[in-house]
Structure formats: C-alpha cells, structure tokens
C-alpha cells in the first residue's frame, strides 16, 4: 500500500466522521422497547418487539417524520425483562436512567409487566403495554400516561360471543376456568353476553390453577344438556381439557376458547366439532385482508423469520408506533409525553389493525376470530370499532 | 484355629480395642469376659467385619481382616450379635430363612428342617412375628438363624443378657451340644459364672486389652478377677 492510498483512506474516514454533525438536519427521538427477549414469555415479547423495530425501520427509511419544522428519526433502546418480575424492574430502571427516553412500548405478560408499568407511571413517561393486568392500571390516578394496545376482555367479548353463537350454533354452554381473579372477571363479562346472544350458561366451574387431571371436574359437565364448553385461558389448560373431555366421553365437542391460539385443538381437529379462539390482532395464518398479506411480506423481509402461530403478536404495537408519530405531530412536541398521550387518547387509526385508544387509554380494535371446524381452519374479522 | 493378632478398633478418638491377641483352637469354646465397655462387642464386631479394625485376623492360613461381612459369613464365621438383631416384623421362619441368605435354596430347606426338628420351639412358633417372642425365645431364634449359615466358627455376644436362670441353662445346653458337634465357639460375656461353667478357655478383657488368659480354674483363682467378676 502506498502513502497516497493511505492518506486518502484517512481523509475519507475523517470526512465520514464529520459528516453527520456537519449535515445534521434530523434529530432523533429515543424509543424505549422493553420485554422478555428470553425465558418462557419470550414467545410473546420477541415478536412484539420485532413489530416495533419493523415500524421504526419503515418510518426511518421513509425519511423520518416532521414535528414542527424539524425532522426526526427514531432510535430504539431495548431492554430484556427475562420473563421475571425482579429483572423487569431493573430493566425498566435502566431504560429510565436515560432521560432522553420519554416513550416506551412493550411487555405482553403480566408477571414482568406490572413492575414495568409501575416504574413507567412513576417516571411519567408514556408507556404502551399489552399485558392483561394493565386493564386494572390504565385510567387510574397517577397512571394517566399508561395505555394498553390490546382489547380488554369486555371489548373482545363483544365480537367473540356473537361469532361463537353463529359459527358453532351453540344453545347451552358450560364454563370451565382456573380459580383466579382473571377468570372471575371473565365469567362476569361473558355470562351476560352469552345470554344476550341466546346462549344459556348451564354450569360454571373454577378449577384449582395448576390442575392436570380434569376428569372429576369434567364429570360435572356430563348429562347437563350442554352443546359447548367455554374454556380458558392458557394453552396447556385448554389442551388438557380438550384431550381429557375426549378421553372421558359424554361431553360437548365444541369449544370456545378465551385464549389466543388454535394450538390446544390442533391435535384433536378431527375429533371435535368446533373450536373458536381470539386473535387479538390479525390472523396471519389465513389472511384474507390485503393489508395483512402485504404486512406479512414486509415482516418476513425485515425479520428474516417465518410466520409462526406466535407471530401475530408482532402487530400489538406496530400500528401504535405510527399513531405515536401522528400524536407527536398533533401535539407539536417530541419531549412532552403528557401532551402526546392526550393526543393518542381518542385517536382512531386505520392501519394493519383498525384501532383506537379511548379516553382512558384502552385500545378498542377490530379483531379476528379463529375458527377450526370440519377439519378446516379459517378466521372471521369482527368489527368492534 | 482362629487367631487374632494385635487387633485394634477405634471409634474416632475412642480406642475401644487396643492391641488384642489371642487364639481359639478348632473345636474349643472360649469366652471373652469383661465389664461394660471393656471392648468385647467391638472385638466380635471386628471379627465379623461390622466395624473397621487394624491387626491380623485369620483362620489357619486364611486371613479375613478387612473383608466385608458377607465374605466372612461365606467363610464360615457367623456372629449372634448383642441384642439379637432379629427382624421383628418377620416370622420366625422368615428370620431363619434369611440366616441362609447366602446359601442355595436346597441347603436352606434342609437346614430349616434340621433345626426345626432339633428345636421344637421354632417349629411351634414358625409363623409368629419374631418381635413378639420372649427374650429367651428370641435368643434361641438368633442362635438358630446363625446356625442356618452352617458356620464353622460361631461368635455369640452376651447370650445370657436379660434371661432368667432357667433360660440361661437352656442356652448353655444348646452351646454344649454345638461344642460336642465340633463347632468352634467364642462367647463374649459379662456373666463370669456362666462363662466359667461353659468355656474351656477364658480371656479377661479390661479397657480394650486382654489382661489374663487361661483355663477357667486358673483365671478364676486370680484374686483380682474373683473380686471383679464374682464379687468375692
């Protein structure tokens, strides 16, 4: 290598170093992304964080966004909650120690989610989460900057129960759920809705969480004139119930699953007469909507991953990133999370999901209902918004 | 001939046996006598491999110190331990059968028949749980269980402990019979009068050492021993 060549390399390198400063027209907005990238909850949070990264990359690739007369791009700062509440608290703390982070998204499971949400509320940053326990936090005093990107049970049920009535032709169902607070609120929401839709609720039973042998409790559902079972709310419980119902016999073979996957019924598809589940974002396995088909192509290109039954969680926060931009533009600020939150609340957005946030910060969105019937799997979009 | 040379047993810091040497010629009845804690049981347990020891233990040319109990039993040295160590919830028959644990099924059956013929009590109580027998009956079962293995050398620890005089006489009769049949027997005993009555050779143990040895008459003539064991 000759001296001239070397000099030219040094020159161009120093030019490159100078360039961003010299040409800086765009500023960055730091977006915190938090979630369980490892551990048992990573099945939810890894796709969810992929979705945020994907939205950010699309926004930045299009040149960023203008707020006032400045153009901004997002830069993502990510922390792993490792599926554990204590680690989640420190991960949140770590994000919050960067004072430039005023907007945070992530966490779909309640155990690590609650400590994260509490830290975020205390620090007065705008936090959009997805986990169920957030329903109890959103809209309460001191938590005005918390928003939940998924429908509450109440909202989802409004689309789910009519679909169950229509698709499975149910007349009389039994409800079987674990004995905990979530289930109790599910029963409170669904029982009247079933009645409104012309379905009797014959029997409600709560089993001990962690139950593996459902035979004795399932016996209670025999000879009750039931044509369907409403079950929840985790995949392993649901699969065990379906499997053991078939094993014992004399039980309904139509299942309404208050859960987000067809997994529990997959192996028993030819032995049951119907299975309904909730897709809280959009159906990616059997998409009918062109917006969804297009998104899947972009998702695959961006993440280099295939679509799995868990992938739909990537849509949890995807549209909300675009809504956040819109809210910043309407509020005219990238530094005042309260002003931005105020604009997000009440905003409706027609993205890959059709969604809105209500005045409290709860999402109200259209969802897809998954149906497994006669050996076929398909989904029906439910308009709720 | 059973020979023991410079046998030592220690439990951590406690030296229970401190270099004991003696010999029991084939066919002889010998007795180790000594007060509580003298080290008699420790000696017998060392001979049957139940406790670790140093020194030399042999029968003729064959050394068996350091061997495991089952190998020693196979060699023909069997102990009736202090406290009898029966299997209390099992029947007398099962206890006896286990005595021949290392023998063939045929040997076991033959031996069981022989012993039941010899001790009618065993046949009578064959199905009774051993734990429900009286102390004397249990001692008999314990001896019979040891005999199931057809030993050449029998070690018995405190055969008379807690027995009534009539039962003591019975045990003595059994031991004499066995002696007559040619068995080599080593008894550990506190009861000196029993030992002198039955043994051909006495070994007096004190604090882990053998202090005197010889025929019973000679040993008992010794004033110290009479004072210590006969209270005269």
């Amino acid at each position: 290598m000759n001296i001239g060549r070397l000099l030219s390399i040094i020159a161009s390198a120093s030019l490159a170093l100078w360039a961003p400063g010299a040409l800086a027209q765009t500023d960055t907005v730091k977006l915190g992304v938090i979630g369980s990238l490892t551990g048992p909850h990573s099945g939810w949070d890894v796709p969810a964080s992929d979705g945020v990264q994907m939205a950010v990359s699309e926004i930045n690739a299009a040149g960023g966004f203008k707020v006032g007369d400045k153009t901004y791009k997002f830069s993502v700062v990510q922390e792993d909650t490792q599926s554990k509440p204590d680690i989640a608290a420190t991960a949140a703390q770590k994000l919050l120690s960067d004072e430039d982070i005023r907007f945070v998204m992530g966490v779909l499971t309640s155990t690590p989610g609650v400590p994260v949400a509490n830290q975020m509320a205390r620090a007065k940053v705008l936090y959009v989460g997805g986990f169920t326990a957030m329903d109890g936090l959103v809209g309460t005093k001191g938590k005005e900057l918390l928003l939940r990107a998924l429908d509450t049970d109440e909202t989802a049920a409004k689309g789910f129960v009519p679909a169950a009535a229509k698709e499975l032709g149910l007349k009389r169902v039994g409800m079987l759920l674990p004995n905990d607070d979530v289930s109790k609120s599910i029963v409170k929401i669904y029982e009247p809705l079933f009645k409104q839709n012309g379905i009797e609720v014959g029997l409600v039973e709560l089993f001990q969480p962690g139950t593996t042998d459902f035979a004795p409790v399932l016996r209670k559902f025999q000879n009750q004139g039931l044509d369907g079972l409403f079950i929840g709310y985790s995949d392993p419980d649901a699969e065990a119930i379906i499997r053991q119902s078939l094993e014992i016999g004399g039980l309904p073979t139509k299942f309404v699953y208050r859960g987000g996957s067809s997994q529990p019924a997959a192996k028993y598809a030819d032995k049951i007469d119907g299975f309904l589940w909730q897709i809280l974002t959009r159906d990616l396995a059997n998409p009918s909507d062109d917006k969804v088909k297009d998104w899947i192509l972009r998702y695959k290109a961006f993440t280099k991953k295939e679509v799995t039954p868990q992938t739909y969680w990537a849509l949890t926060f995807y549209d909300t990133v675009f809504m956040l931009v819109k809210a910043m533009q309407e509020a005219g600020t990238v530094t005042d999370p309260a002003a931005v939150a105020a604009k997000l609340k009440g905003m409706a957005y027609d993205g890959v999901r059709r969604m809105s946030y209500n005045g409290e910060g709860r999402a109200i969105t259209d969802i897809d209902i998954g149906v497994l019937k006669g050996g076929k799997v398909y989904s029906i979009p439910q308009k709720i918004l | 001939m059973l020979t023991v040379e410079n046998l030592k047993v220690a439990y951590g810091r406690v030296e229970a046996v401190r270099g004991v040497s003696f010999a029991v010629p084939a066919g002889q009845i010998a007795a180790l006598i000594g007060a509580n804690g003298a080290g008699k049981s420790s000696t017998l347990n060392a001979l049957t491999g139940l406790v670790r020891c140093r020194g030399k233990i042999a029968e003729g040319d064959i050394r068996f110190d350091g061997l495991a109990t089952d190998a020693i039993v196979r060699h023909g040295v069997v102990q009736v331990a202090q406290g009898r160590q029966l299997f209390p919830l099992m029947s007398v028959r099962e206890n006896l059968e286990l005595g021949a644990f290392l023998r063939s099924a045929a040997d076991k059956r033959r031996r069981l028949d022989e012993l039941m013929a010899r001790f009618p009590l065993l046949a009578e109580r064959a199905e009774q749980a051993a734990g429900t027998l009286s102390g004397g009956e249990q001692q008999l079962v314990a001896i019979a269980r040891a005999l199931m293995a057809e030993p050449r050398i029998l070690l018995i620890d405190e055969p008379c402990l807690g027995l009534a005089p009539i039962m003591i006489r019975r045990v003595a009769a059994v031991l004499r019979d066995l002696h007559a049949a040619g068995l080599t027997i080593l008894i550990a005993e506190q009861n000196a009068s029993f030992a002198t009555a039955i043994a051909e050779h006495l070994l007096v143990m004190e604090n882990g050492r053998i202090t005197q040895a010889g025929p019973p008459a000679a040993v008992m003539a010794h004033a110290d021993v009479r004072r210590a064991y006969l209270g005269i």
């Binding site: 709560l206 004795p216 094993e247 014992i248 | 139940l50």
Partner: protein, 288 residues
C-alpha cells in the same frame, strides 16, 4: 346417582394408582435407606420426557415407556453412587442435597427441553362402555399397569430372596448385615428400583397429562403426603394411601369444589397425623 358415584370412584382409583406408584418409590427409599429423596419427582419428570422423545422419535409408547424405566433406573443408580451414598445417615445433608438436586435438574430440564408443555399420544384413545359406565380407555390402561406394577412389586418384596433381604434391611440393618446381606448393594438396588418406578410413573403421567419441566412437583408433594399418611416407610400404607388420595380428590372435585383439589390431600394428611399418628396401618404391621 349410583352410576355417577361408581364412575367417580373409578376415576379416583385411576389417578390413585399413579399416586401409589410414586409414593411407593418414596417410601421405599425412605423406609429402607432413611433418605427423603426430594429428587424423586424429578425422576418422574425425566421419565415423562424420555417417553415423550421416544414417542416423537417413532419408537411407539410401549418401547418409549420401557426406555423411560431403564433410563431412570440408571439415573437412580448414578444418583445413589455419586450423591446419596455420601449422605447416608445424615438426614439434613440428604435433605439439602436432594432439594438442591431439584433446582439443578428442573432448571437444566427447562433450559434443554423448554418450558412448553408437551403432550404424548396415548397408546389407546377415547372412552369405552363398561356396562353402564363410560370410562376413559387410557385411564383404565394406566390403572391396570400401575396395579400390576404395585402388585408385582409387593409380591417381589414378600416372596423373592432379594425382596426379603430388602425388608430385612428395613427392619434391622445390622441384622441384615450379619446374615450376609451386602447393605450398600441393597441400598443401591433400592434406589434403582425406586427411580425405575418413578420412570414408569412418568411414562404413565405422560400418557394422560402434559409433560413440563415442573411436572415433578405435584407428584412429589403428593408422594410425600402419601408416604407420611401411610406411615413413613410402610409399603402397604403408601399404596393404600395413594388410592385413598385419588378417591378423595375425585369425590372432592366432583361433589365439592374443584378449586380446592390439591387441598383434599392435606386434609387427609392432617387428619391422619392427628388420629393415626403411626400411619394407616399402625406402626406394628405397617412397614415393608
């Protein structure tokens, strides 16, 4: 109503057989070797995984179950050799070690197999009518197998020479040594058999319930309740207690509340400890 009671009773017997198989292993090891082996539940879990992977590899259920039994037998022998041999006679050390083992095995399993629940295709499916009773075929099969295992094992203890040596050792360790039983060898045998039984229980569990790294805990706690209920160390007691618990849970969940399912075992335990402090059969006859 009568039909319902009969069905509930049989449901109870079917899980009871599983409980009894696990409790048998625990009581055996405790009664004979004096070790409360908390890692026993992990043998159940590992046995279930061996079955799952065997079935997945196309070996079929029976071969996989046999493999699970063999693998767990080896696992028990290794554990005894490497760990429990050194804690003999020291209950606290044995306890600490086995508690530590739970952590190690469970976390290793979670890391290797992932915590996702797995379901094994059972050898038979659906239900059959036995007279007027509608019963799960697989559960009946499990009941038959566990009864055969328990019965066979009981006969082995009563009749076989090695079985007698095991009982002898439980009643008097020194006495057993005196007749030529090699106590250390028998201890290892017991560990091996106990763990093999756990492997069998694991295969049976897997044929009915989800396989997860944490599945060992419930059988373990229940196994300990049963071992205590039966009078620690008593084989007939543990077996009877296993079936009793299965029946109690079944009736409790059927006619009382299913949300209290695991509580019925503890109620039984507390009652047993209060009124039968020496176990179901009393101390005398109990034991092995």
């Amino acid at each position: 109503m009568g039909l319902d009671i009969a069905q509930t009773l049989i449901d109870g017997l079917m899980v009871g057989g599983l409980y009894a198989t696990v409790a048998l292993g625990i009581t055996l090891v405790f009664g004979l070797v004096g070790i409360l082996n908390f890692a026993h539940g992990q043998s159940v879990m590992l046995g279930a995984y061996v079955t799952f992977f065997g079935v997945q590899a196309g070996l079929g259920f029976w071969l996989s179950a046999a493999l699970a039994v063999l693998a767990m037998a080896a696992f028990g022998a290794i554990l005894e050799q490497l760990v429990f041999r050194r804690t003999l006679g020291d209950h606290m050390a044995g306890l600490a070690v086995s508690l530590g083992l739970i952590m190690v095995i469970e976390n290793l399993a979670a890391a290797t197999f992932s915590p996702d629940p797995r379901f094994v295709d059972p050898p038979v499916s659906g239900s059959i009518m036995v007279g007027p009773l509608q019963l799960s075929s697989q559960r009946l099969l499990v009941l038959a197998i566990s009864t055969a295992l328990i019965g066979g094992f009981y006969l082995f203890l009563q009749r076989a020479t090695l079985g007698k040596a095991i009982r002898a050792m439980a009643q008097n360790r020194q006495g057993a040594a005196l007749v030529g039983v090699r106590v250390s060898l028998v201890s290892r045998t017991i560990f091996t058999i106990g763990s093999a039984l756990a492997g069998a229980a694991g295969a049976l569990y897997a044929s009915l319930f989800a396989v997860t790294p944490y599945m060992g805990n419930t059988p373990l706690t229940k196994g300990f309740i049963l071992a205590a209920l039966g009078g620690l160390g008593s084989v007939p007691g543990a077996i009877a207690a296993g079936f009793l618990l299965g029946i109690a849970e079944s009736f409790g969940s059927r006619y009382l509340s299913a949300s209290f399912r695991d509580g019925y075992g503890f109620i039984l335990l507390i009652l047993a400890l209060l009124f039968l402090p020496t176990g179901l059969f009393g101390a005398g006859k109990a034991r092995v």
